[in-house]
Symmetry: C2
Subunit: 262 residues, 2 copies
Amino acid sequence: MANQYERISTDLRHQITSGELAEGDRLPAETELAKRYKVSVPTVRQGVGVLQSEGLLEKQHGRGTFVRRQPTPVTRTNLRHQWEKDRARESESERLKTGATEHDTGLTVNDLVFDAKYDRVPASAELAAAFDVPEGTMLLERIYRTRHSDELTPFNVSRSYLPLELVEPNPDLLREDLEPWPGGTQNQLFTLGIELDRIVETFRARPPTPEETEELGLPVGVSVVILRKTSIDTTDRVVEISDVVLPGDRTEIVYTTKLDRW
Amino acid sequence: MANQYERISTDLRHQITSGELAEGDRLPAETELAKRYKVSVPTVRQGVGVLQSEGLLEKQHGRGTFVRRQPTPVTRTNLRHQWEKDRARESESERLKTGATEHDTGLTVNDLVFDAKYDRVPASAELAAAFDVPEGTMLLERIYRTRHSDELTPFNVSRSYLPLELVEPNPDLLREDLEPWPGGTQNQLFTLGIELDRIVETFRARPPTPEETEELGLPVGVSVVILRKTSIDTTDRVVEISDVVLPGDRTEIVYTTKLDRW
DNA sequence: GAGTGGTCTAGACCACTGT
DNA sequence: CAGTGGTCTAGACCACTCC
């Protein structure tokens, strides 16, 4: 190995993958590692930084450097959409039982804390194009934050947009205090006489912005998954767009494509 | 701003997002930036490192630090599966015209360089579970690397697995020199009398391993998207598993879910 | 208060790129 | 060759955590 810091990072990586260092274990202090590898402290920090960006180590100021626990991912499937559609016409008592997030995570309502903020915003050029409406058309913006009740940071932040004109016939849909709405968006649309035909989801992974790092409490090296859900009704009209930011290391997405028979 | 390096990174970030520094522009040398911000060179490097991990800057040893060009993503849709299935029974001349990768990227066959390696491997515990066969069952492993003809590093690496017993009836399927096979895997399966019922794809984003960084030529801060495609035939049997590693910054995935009518 | 990581300095020397 | 980033040192002082 040519470099000192790579010598350190490959050695520590082997210790982790071999199990010599287990998940949650604390590493020796940086001064101690410097003595052990016969290098200066900044060089140790450089080597540790490599493993931090690989998601193998996590530093905690004042406490130490720890082998990171690989988080168990939350699975999100496209079966949820049909499941939600089937529920949209159920009775309120039936719809109250559970929501799509609980459906995905297997958690009950009590484990989740939910926060909704409603606002009216003019459509940006990009959203206007997606809705096929003039730029500046008023939209209902709804920002949702979902987190586990025993954690501080949300595990997802989502922004949903609906043309204001579309939802105005039902004033209840403008009230954020009625969230969480039993049966979700598809039931809300049902109250407007709207039936969905299909849902198009696009997504990408990219490094987080500083705001996202803070908001989601992301460790170094974890990227975010950006998911845009576009809901299209039976008249081929885009009725809702929802942008979700998910922590890349805790998210698994599963899609089933059913094929036509020969 | 409390820290010097954050002062530098936020200032440079503003210059980039405001357009004052355009894509491809070279930054002043680190010594020059140190003078300008009245800090030491390592502090400049720390600030630049932040933007590097956000994918905004790219360092090139001996040349300078540049504002990174945001790559145009390759889109991969689930419509390709039905498209491939429809083609699987076409004549060879029809199938020769184009492949699924070209379908996604919009490139012609001449722009793409394709490399296939076949091997026989025993099933790992994990693959055996996915195929529902005993551990150690022999599998045909096929490793594909696809790259643009004018670039050195592949833009994806994929590993495909098929139970060896399944493909042996057609010896041509064991010959890597017949790649690229016109019509792809679904046509290969068709020669065995196998029809696919559905395809389940799961994917996740995570930081790359050192090997992946090297193989895909990934810049700092870019994560990889891991996609596992499981093909299930009309008898509910898993017939192929394909693992693809994609550069997160160049990949966009689009899935359409068609909903049943009320 | 002891121990940890976080920020920062002011250099030295090496490796790579271009002319 | 000059100019660039890459590696590394040997410290100083600050901020956080836990006892």
